[in-house]
C-alpha cells in the first residue's frame, strides 16, 4: 500500500507525519518503506537516521552533437521546446544540457545522425535501513532541474508488500504530481492558518484532478483560525487527525528526534492515523 504525505505549503509537518507514521507502522509489525521524494531537500533522514548502504548515481540522456556530421539543417533546434539545443547558422549548434528534458526529439529528427545521447548526472539515490524500516531517498544534484526524473527513480524502489510512505515535496507543481501519482491514499498536512488553507485548497484541487482518495491532517491545531476545518466540512473532506500545537513537539522536531519516541502520549494519535489508513484501504477496496 502506498501512502503519500503531501501539503502544498512547506513547513506544515509532512516529514513529521511521515516519519512518525513510519515508526508506528513499523512498531505494529508492518513492513515499512520510507521514500523521501522531496529530492530537492530531503530531510526525513534527520529523524530516521538511516544507515545508508547504497548510493547510486542517476543519469538522464542529454544531446551531444558531432559537428563534423552536422549538416546545419536546424531541425534539432526547431523541435526542442526548452532551448536545450539551439542551431545558429551552418553547423553552429549549441547545447544547454541543464535545460534538456530528455525527450529524445533532437536525436530522432537529425537526418545526419549527428546527435548522440550522453549521460547527464542529475543526482543520487541513497538507500539503506533505519531499524527495520527500509529507507530510500533521492538527492537532486545542485543546479539540476530534473526533479521529476529523480522522483521516478525513487519510486521504482516501492515494494508491493510494504507500506510505502512517500514524503512528497511541497507545492503543487510537477514534482508533487509525480510523487503522489499512483498512491492508494494521500494525507494532506495543513496548518490552520490562512497560508495553510490557501495551499490546502490548491492541493485538494490537485489530488481531486488525479482522482486520488485523500484526507487532511491539521497540524499545530489551536493556532490561527477555524477556517481550515470549516473548509473541510464544506467540501466534505475528512480530517484524519488534529495534532495540537505543542511546544514540546517543536522542540523534539528541532533536535532531530521522532515525536512518538520522545513524547509517548502522542503514540496514540499516530496509531490512530495508521489505523485510519488501514481502514481506508479496506473502504477503498469495498468501493471498487
Amino acid at each position: 500500500m502506498k501512502i503519500a504525505i503531501a501539503s502544498g505549503k512547506g513547513g506544515t509537518g509532512k516529514t513529521t507525519i511521515a516519519t512518525n507514521l513510519a515508526y508506528i507502522a513499523d512498531g505494529s509489525g508492518r513492513k515499512v518503506q520510507y521514500l523521501d521524494c522531496d529530492v530537492e531537500e530531503p530531510n526525513g533522514h534527520i529523524f530516521l537516521k538511516p544507515k545508508i548502504e547504497k548510493t547510486r548515481a542517476v543519469t538522464v540522456d542529454a544531446p551531444e552533437v558531432d559537428l563534423k556530421k552536422c549538416t546545419g539543417c536546424g531541425k534539432c533546434g526547431e523541435i526542442c521546446q526548452y532551448s536545450a539545443i539551439v542551431h545558429l547558422a551552418d553547423n553552429n549548434v549549441l547545447t544547454f544540457e541543464q535545460l534538456c528534458h530528455s525527450c529524445g526529439g533532437c536525436l530522432r529528427v537529425c537526418p545526419a545522425d549527428a546527435i548522440k545521447p550522453k549521460p547527464l548526472n542529475i543526482g543520487d539515490i541513497e538507500s539503506g535501513t533505519a531499524g527495520d524500516i527500509e529507507f530510500v531517498q533521492g538527492r537532486l544534484r545542485l543546479g539540476s532541474i530534473r526533479t521529476v526524473s529523480l522522483i521516478k527513480e525513487v519510486k521504482k524502489h516501492i515494494k508491493r508488500d510494504s507500506l510505502a510512505i512517500i514524503d512528497v515535496p511541497p507545492g503543487t507543481s510537477c514534482p508533487v504530481v509525480e510523487a503522489v501519482k499512483g498512491a492508494d491514499f494521500v494525507l494532506l498536512v495543513t496548518e490552520p492558518t490562512p497560508f495553510g488553507l490557501n495551499d490546502l485548497k490548491l492541493t485538494v484541487g490537485l489530488v481531486r484532478a488525479l482522482h486520488l482518495p485523500f484526507a487532511v491532517v491539521i497540524n499545530r491545531y489551536g493556532i490561527g483560525n477555524e477556517d481550515a476545518e470549516k473548509y473541510c466540512k464544506a467540501e466534505s473532506v475528512e480530517i484524519a487527525l488534529k495534532l495540537p500545537d505543542d511546544r514540546r513537539i517543536a522542540e523534539t522536531y528541532s533536535s532531530g528526534k521522532v515525536i512518538v519516541d520522545v513524547l509517548s502520549e502522542y503514540k496514540e494519535a499516530f496509531f490512530l492515523i495508521y489505523e485510519y489508513i488501514k481502514n481506508i484501504k479496506a473502504r477503498i477496496d469495498d468501493k471498487r
Partner: protein
C-alpha cells in the same frame, strides 16, 4: 550594420527594456540609415530558455550587436557563439542608445551581468 536593442515598445522612441530574454520587443536598427523594424518577443512568458530563444531571434534577424540592460549567461553564450557583440547596462530610449553606440560611448560586456532567470520575476 544591423544592431538589436531591447525595447519596451515598438519604436525607437520607446525605452530600452532592461531585460534581454524577456524584453517586450527587439528593435532592429540599421546604423547607417537609421531604418528600423520591431520584432515582438515571443519569449516574454516562456517557462525557461527565454534568453537562448531571444538570442536566436536576434541572430536570425541578422543583428551583429545587441544593446540591452541585463543579460544572463545562457543568452550571452548563445550570442557569443554567433559572434554577436553584447553591450549591457544600456538605458534611455532606443534611439539614444543607438546614438551612444555610434559615438563609441558604450563599453562591450565582458560576460553576462546577471544570473539566469534574473528577468523572469520582473
Amino acid at each position: 550594420m544591423k544592431i538589436a536593442v531591447t525595447s519596451t515598445g515598438k519604436t525607437v522612441d520607446s525605452q530600452v527594456d532592461p531585460r534581454f530574454g524577456r524584453a517586450a520587443y527587439f528593435i532592429i536598427v540599421d546604423t547607417e540609415t537609421m531604418d528600423f523594424s520591431a520584432i515582438e518577443n515571443n519569449n516574454v512568458a516562456a517557462a525557461g530558455g527565454a534568453g537562448i530563444s531571444s538570442a536566436k531571434a536576434v541572430i536570425d534577424a541578422g543583428a551583429g550587436t545587441v544593446l540591452t540592460g541585463n543579460c544572463g549567461p545562457n543568452a550571452q553564450r548563445t550570442l557569443g557563439a554567433a559572434g554577436v557583440k553584447l553591450y549591457t547596462g544600456v538605458t534611455g530610449t532606443v534611439s539614444e542608445a543607438v546614438q551612444l553606440f555610434k559615438s563609441n560611448k558604450l563599453a562591450e560586456a565582458a560576460g553576462p551581468n546577471v544570473q539566469s532567470h534574473f528577468g523572469a520575476g520582473n
